[in-house]
Amino acid sequence: MTAETLLKVEGVETFYGNIRALAGVDVEVKKGEIVSLIGANGAGKSTLMMTICGSPQARTGKVIFEGQDITHMPTHEIARLRIAQSPEGRRIFPRMTVYENLQMGASLDNQKFFNEDVEKMFTLFPRLKERQFQRGGTLSGGEQQMLAIARALMARPKLLMLDEPSLGLAPLVSKQIFAAIKLLNEQQGLTVFLVEQNAFAALKLSHRAYVLVNGSITMSGSGSELLANPEVRAAYLEGGAH
């Protein structure tokens, strides 16, 4: 692929107090790609994702989105550049209805495309249509994840960042979620940056992937390359065939 670069992370170091969580990470996401970031617990996957979103901010290094330096921007302004985030743990609004949750996602455009987009989401996730009057908190885990993704998509993002969409979901449900991501990418050319523990599913889905170990990128390559890589297989795939 020779598409233009959408997001570029250059030598980013992030600290929690004095503890260095990211030690100079370089990541690049091109337009129209699905890029995933895999790694063990505590490797810094979510930290990298949060750093891109500006909370916490990187101490050194740069985050560049469409040529614009967003390293020190506040989170909500980064979101307004249409980097949609579905944070870890889904974080839907539990006491608002499904419909209201979607509405919150559309606040950027002042509801201009709201009806049109809601219909799209209901086609993508028919379950949400059935549940539109229900409170977010009463949905099942999978439905909540669908809602989280749909809510992020309501902002018409240029880049969709998903943190562990398969977390705590039944294999069949996470399969549905990944299928939806793939569909969005193929049909609408949506760029997706995916953080995932489920390495097998993520690698199968992605065009390219990065492996994060103790705050540094140790490997990168196309999804199929990494799938075939013996080190990756030993560390993340064997012993848990998904």
Binding site: H76, A79, F93, Y99, S107, L108, G137, A155
Partner: protein, 461 residues
């Protein structure tokens, strides 16, 4: 149904035995607990010696109450409640349409409030109606307005504010000081007091932007106390604990309510009476209340109102959706404070006197309990709670017949806090989400559906 009630009817004998057993146990526990507190009293005799006065009769009353209460609860109340619950579960879910009264509740309530003064006037005459319009009507409506204002901060934005009375104080003192020193009229000072309070709301908002829950509660509590202490100690301006008296009354667009030739009574050729002023105040506070309700309802449908509710639910999600949480929080504080300021300036004008006494922490607590009791975010529930709490206090003052029972020294309003506490505990047990626990969604595609009370915010925070 038959199967449901069966256990209680078949085993009546064992139930009575069980009730007797438990009641006896309770009676013994009560005896042990109260024998030293109630059964014996220390007193002084003629020679100034400490003696023990036994009060066995009183102790016996306590023990009997406990015994009878426990027996009734086990033998009758509990089987009745389980039977009712089972019957409720067994019955098919009813989907009856809401009745006429329920559908038009707010319209009917407003109509009733508008008609309230003339009805009271015709029933009790100009002098007799003062109590009902002033003590019940105006007093309750002030609290309704305060609670609706606080509802924006606590109920919608989810920011627990224990110092709300500070904004009430700012509004009241703004009106008192500016009207006395500069002679501005109420109609200029009402918006000005609101703006000043909103400004203080923002001042409070800035340092607490990062705080949540308990920490926020402590800082807001401190803020309320700071304002009160400033009012007490800045004697040059506020005259300290003496308060400010002689605050000008409100005029009806320039027509004063007094005996002068330009007064209201003379102009409209009516007999002189203070009732007109009270009726006027009643309508004024009613109007202010309706303004608060209207603004709240409108704001909930606007992006800012939705952002408040989203902020209450999840701050991180808000930020990742592009909502500026800083301005969202500050506007919640500012608008909530503004209504507190409106209410405060009305309060000052109505009393004609303000002192720091009126703005103690207890007031904040009462306003907050009204919001919690009514159901966070529900305007109707809060109004009902305000009527119950404030009206209940006023009713206690009226209960002179209690003096015949408990003796002439008995002042029922002193038991107000005790009754408050009991009412709160009962409410939290019976209806943990407040009187009106349902939250009406602000967005809907085809039809409006109320969300069941079991999913709305519980009375925490």
């Amino acid at each position: 149904m038959a199967t449901v009630t069966n256990p209680s009817t078949a085993s009546t004998g064992s139930l009575t035995a069980k009730a007797l057993r438990e009641a006896t146990f309770t009676a013994v526990m009560t005896f042990l607990m109260f024998v030293l507190f109630v059964g014996l009293k220390t007193d002084q005799n003629m020679r100034n010696e400490l003696i023990l006065v036994p009060r066995w009769g009183l102790l016996a009353i306590f023990v009997i109450i406990a015994f009878v209460g426990r027996f009734a609860m086990v033998a009758w109340l509990q089987p009745w409640r389980t039977a009712r619950k089972a019957a409720k579960d067994a019955a098919p879910a009813q989907t009856t349409d809401a009745g006429f009264v329920k559908r038009n509740f707010s319209k009917l309530a407003i109509l009733a409030l508008v008609l309230y003064p003339p009805i009271i006037l015709s029933l009790f005459g100009a002098q007799g109606s003062l109590k009902y319009i002033d003590n019940f009507g105006i007093q309750i409506l002030i609290y309704v307005m305060l609670a609706w204002g606080l509802n924006i901060v606590v109920g919608l934005a989810g920011l627990l504010d224990l110092g709300y009375v500070a904004f009430y104080a700012v509004g009241a003192y703004s009106y008192a000081l500016l009207s006395i020193n500069f002679g501005f009229s109420f109609w200029i000072l009402l918006p000005l007091a609101g703006i000043l309070s909103a400004f203080w709301g923002i001042i409070l908002g800035f340092p607490v932007l990062r705080l949540k829950g308990d920490y926020l509660a402590i800082v807001t509590l401190a803020f309320g106390e700071i304002i009160r202490l400033v009012l007490i100690n800045w004697q040059d301006v506020t005259q300290g604990t003496f308060g400010i008296s002689g605050i000008p009354k409100i005029t009806l667009f320039g027509i004063p309510f007094d005996a002068s030739p330009h007064g209201f009574a003379k102009i409209f050729n009516l007999p002189m009476s203070s009732a007109y002023y009270k009726v006027f105040l009643f309508y004024l506070i009613l109007l202010l209340c309706l303004l608060t309700a209207f603004v709240t309802i409108r704001l909930r449908r606007l992006p800012i109102g939705r952002a408040w509710e989203a902020l209450r639910e999840d701050e991180i999600a808000c930020r990742s959706l592009g909502i500026n949480t800083v301005t969202t929080k500050l506007t919640a504080f500012a608008i909530g404070a503004m209504f507190g300021g409106f209410a405060g300036s009305f309060f000052a004008a109505r009393q004609g006197f303000v002192s720091p006494e009126s703005f103690v922490f207890l007031e904040s607590a009462v306003i907050l309990s009204i919001v919690v009791l009514g159901g966070m975010g529900s305007l109707t529930g809060i109004a009902i709670a305000a009527i119950a709490m404030v009206g209940g206090t006023e009713l206690l003052r009226e209960m002179d017949f209690l003096k015949h029972i408990f003796g002439p020294d008995f002042t029922p309003e002193l038991y107000r806090m005790l009754i408050f506490g009991l009412a709160m505990i009962t409410m939290m047990l019976v209806r943990p989400r407040g009187f009106v626990g349902s939250r009406e969604p602000t967005a809907f595609l085809f039809e409006r559906k109320n969300v069941s009370g079991s999913f709305t915010k519980e009375g925490h925070g």
